[in-house]
């Protein structure tokens, strides 16, 4: 499991006027909408979001309580076949987007919010606070995210809330490091020095001067984290410590069914696995577009 890093995070140029920033945002939006990757990503993600919101209202069968013959191959009746208990795989894959699309964004937001705060404080203050926090960040980063998440979830026991907290907190140091390096570059610039000379407080400078200028990398980081959150939650569910049954969550379904692939039952594993892949690819396409627009 790769903990994502982003050593070449783009750094937004400092622009003073608010109007200029608004103008830049409009332009960026226009550029984004012309990128096919961004559009494809949005369509796929939008589709999963619709499935997640409408849930049982649009699934062809009841994803939980409709049992027919177990492990039937795909047919006209069951397009994706049935699972071990005879439930419709298509319905479960559709409904399976719900849990992950709640857990992953929450975890990403938590990680980015806390990480940004930490990064701002570390980057702006330097000194002893930075040194201490940097050590702790480094210690966390030296272990694979999945391993630490696993350890914590085994100890704490899995519930949706705990999964969100653990994944979010584990993303924090990674975000903090990215934000810190962006802030370090900013704090030497004239506008920060000017604000200091004006006698502004550190809090004000961080919140009103530096933050708006590092918002670009933070937005990119948020999308990237969202993708990794889906990946991480799916992997944790596969390892049995993420989302718990009877949820039709994709990672969980793969872990429940993958051993049956040996007996030739590939459909119960393949479709949820493809769903995971499509969802992460969609988010990554969006993140990729955002990143290249931000660096232009």
């Amino acid at each position: 499991m790769a903990a994502p890093i982003n050593p070449t995070a783009p750094i937004a140029p400092p622009i003073d006027a608010r109007a200029e920033r608004a103008q830049a945002r409009r332009e960026a939006r226009a550029v984004l909408l012309r990128r096919p990757g961004f559009l494809i990503g949005m369509v796929i993600l939008g589709m999963w979001a619709v499935f997640a919101i409408l849930g049982q209202a649009i699934t062809p069968y009841d994803p939980f309580n409709d049992f027919s013959l177990g492990h039937q191959p795909p047919s006209a009746e069951h397009l994706f076949g049935t699972d071990r208990l005879g439930r419709d795989v298509l319905s479960r894959v559709m409904f399976g987007s719900r849990d992950v699309l709640i857990v992953a964004p929450l975890a990403a937001i938590l990680g980015v919010v806390v990480g940004t705060l930490l990064g701002l404080v570390m980057g702006y203050n330097r000194g002893i606070i930075d040194d201490v926090l940097s050590r702790i960040v480094e210690a966390f980063l030296s272990l694979p995210v999945i391993l630490v998440a696993l350890l914590t979830l085994v100890v704490l026991g899995s519930s949706t809330l705990v999964v969100v907290l653990v994944v979010g907190i584990l993303f924090t140091p990674i975000v903090a490091r990215t934000v810190r390096s962006a802030v370090l570059a900013e704090r030497q610039l004239d506008y920060v020095t000017a604000a200091k000379l004006r006698g502004e407080s550190g809090l004000f400078i961080m919140a009103r001067e530096i933050f708006p200028n590092v918002r670009g990398p933070i937005v990119v980081e948020l999308t990237v984290r969202f993708g990794y959150a889906i990946f991480t939650v799916a992997t944790l569910s596969f390892l049995g410590v993420g989302i718990q049954p009877p949820s039709p969550d994709w990672g969980l379904t793969v872990s429940e069914e993958y051993t049956n692939m040996i007996s030739g039952v590939w459909w119960a594993t393949l479709f949820p696995a493809l769903a995971i892949a499509s969802c992460v690819i969609a988010v990554n396409l969006i993140a990729d577009a955002l990143q290249s627009v931000a660096s232009e």
């Binding site: 939980f64 049992f67 208990l85 410590v241 718990q244 051993t259 049956n260």
Partner: protein
């Protein structure tokens, strides 16, 4: 019927033996049950054959144990083709969850590894699947089952070269009593075991028990006999010893264990040279490994994951009926299930046949909301089987004044149990009962829902009002009855307390003879079926198996796979 032959046996028989012979002669128990019981009361094999021959129209046409026995799995030992001497068998098992400590171990994998080197007073007889002579050659009780005398096998040596003696048995039993072994707890105490002479050990029980030999047999896995000087906490890999056919060469907790032949074994030279146990975390890779030719046998697998093995012409699947079951407990003292009608309603909403089909593809026995599994010889089938009746369930709920009911169903992330919870949720919904499954990790489930340590008295009084807990195979139902159902039992999560039941249980333990045991069981079954402190939907089969390249492999339903008689097909 050949009465003269029967009489010869009758004249020399003890009261328990006589009772058994009569039960069989009068057709009250089946031949299979007769063979099983005769091993317990110590009737000699010669007498058993004589009785069977006497009672059969075609004498000696069938050999005992030709059917697939219960509680065990033994493949057709008839080796077609010549057997080649030598070779190694590779056995797949789950990675042990704890140290290879013969006294403290608690998981099936450790049971299997220990049973390669250590032996029991009563071993498993591959022919019947029941207990048979082991380190004890024979045993017999006194008239009221309170004193049991075991005759020890002579000339047995420990792998370190010293002699096996009665003192070894006495010290082993003391250690087991000190460790609180669940099987012998309350049956013997530290002073119960005595050496009478070098070939005889005597057990004076705290309370009479007709099933005692089971409690010191392979079916109570911790009762393997360890040397007199063995310190509690010693592990097999720390000190490779035992009286058994295999000597441990190496053990790596991550990957597996290796054994080679013990040339000094009392049973003679094993056909195979060596045994290798290979560890896996899950069953899926075991199946893959078998298909890839990397292992030869699987200690245990489940129906769904092992589906491919059933269709494999080169693989022998051994399905053994067991008392493995799930208990759906409902708190009888507090919460929404205190009214017996509510508990019955939930039991009536269950579609047990559908569960057995969907979860086990039919490889399970129906449960009737009590713990007397159909494989026990004293199971009484006359108690009516509860079947699904949604209308009745609704009626019972209405009578109890709860037209609708919602409850959280607590389960652990273990084997088929989450799926069982899903099926229950769906089936109960039709009777107007809304169940919400809450699946938790093993630690959380056992520690917070099933039997929290606090409050201590009565035990499990902190349990959730509804949940499903797993119970493994036991050769006798005593542990299920005393721990889960007796008033103040240590695992009594439903807080069930019924003096009538407690009395019936005592009657069962004291019962001398099959008839008396069966009569007591009928009471137990009737009471439990009516009270539904626990619902028991099924007893599932234990599945193990091996490649047809090997014959003579047999296994218990406790993860013990025995290969001392196994050989490779040339």
């Amino acid at each position: 019927m050949d009465y003269s032959r029967l009489d010869r046996v009758r004249r020399s028989a003890s009261p328990q033996e006589l009772d058994l012979v009569e039960s069989f002669a009068q057709g009250r128990i089946t031949r299979r049950q007769f063979i099983k019981r005769s091993a317990v009361v110590g009737l000699s094999m010669a007498s058993v054959s004589a009785v069977i021959a006497a009672c059969s129209n075609t004498p000696s046409a069938t050999t005992p144990g030709s059917q697939l026995p219960a509680g065990s799995a033994s493949p057709g030992a008839s080796a077609s083709g010549s057997a080649a001497a030598g070779g190694t068998i590779k056995i797949a098992t789950q990675r042990p969850a704890g140290p290879l400590d013969p006294i403290g171990m608690q998981d099936l994998s450790a049971y299997g590894l220990i049973a390669q080197s250590f032996e029991f007073l009563a071993a498993m007889d591959p022919a019947t699947g029941d207990i048979g002579p082991g380190l004890a050659e024979s045993w017999s009780p006194n008239d009221d089952n309170s004193v049991w005398t075991f005759k020890l096998r002579q000339g047995v040596k420990w792998q370190d070269g010293s002699d096996f003696k009665g003192e070894d048995v006495v010290e082993t039993m003391k250690r087991l009593v000190a460790a609180g072994n669940a099987g012998i707890k309350g049956v013997i105490d530290a002073n119960s075991t005595k050496v009478i002479d070098p070939a005889t050990v005597e057990f004076t029980l705290v309370s009479p028990n007709g099933n005692f030999p089971y409690l010191v047999s392979v079916f109570n896995a911790q009762t393997c006999i360890t040397p007199a000087g063995y310190a509690t906490g010693t592990t097999l890999d720390g000190l490779a010893n035992g009286t058994g056919p295999w000597k441990m060469d190496s053990y790596d907790a991550q990957t597996g264990a290796k054994y080679s032949r013990n040339d000094a074994w009392w049973g003679g030279k094993t056909p195979l040279d060596a045994v290798e146990w290979v560890f896996f975390d899950t069953i899926g890779p075991m199946v893959t490994a078998y298909q890839g030719g990397q292992i030869d046998a699987i200690v245990q697998f489940d129906v769904l994951t092992g589906a491919a093995l059933f269709n494999d012409a080169n693989f022998t699947v051994n399905a053994a009926r067991t008392s493995n079951h799930r208990q759906i407990w409902m708190r009888t003292d507090t919460g929404q299930f205190t009214d017996v009608r509510v508990r019955q309603a939930l039991a009536y909403s269950l579609d047990r046949d559908a569960m057995i089909q969907q979860l086990f593809k039919g490889q399970a026995d129906l449960g009737n909301d009590h713990v007397i599994a159909p494989l026990y010889p004293y199971f009484d089938p006359s108690v009516p089987q509860r079947t699904r009746d949604v209308a009745k369930a609704k009626q019972l709920l209405a009578d109890a004044g709860v037209p609708s009911l919602s409850a959280t169903l607590h389960v652990a992330q273990l084997q088929e149990i989450p799926d069982l919870a899903v099926l229950m949720q769906s089936q109960a919904a039709e009777a107007g009962i809304t169940l919400t499954p809450a699946v938790e990790s093993l630690d959380t489930f056992y520690g917070a829902q099933w039997c929290p340590a606090d409050p201590k008295d009565p035990p499990c009084s902190g349990a959730a009002e509804l949940g499903i807990v797993d119970y493994g195979h036991r050769a006798t139902p005593d542990v299920f009855l005393n721990a889960a159902l007796q008033t103040k039992g240590v695992w009594n999560s439903s807080q069930y307390s019924n003096p009538e039941f407690d009395a019936a249980f005592v009657e069962f333990q004291k019962a001398v003879g099959v008839d008396a045991q069966k009569a007591a069981c009928k009471k137990i079954e009737t009471i439990l079926n009516n009270d539904v402190a626990i619902a028991v939907p099924y007893f599932y089969q234990f599945l193990s198996g091996n490649s047809k390249k090997f014959t003579g492999v047999y296994s218990s339903a406790l993860g013990q796979m025995f290969v001392e008689r196994a050989s490779q097909v040339a």
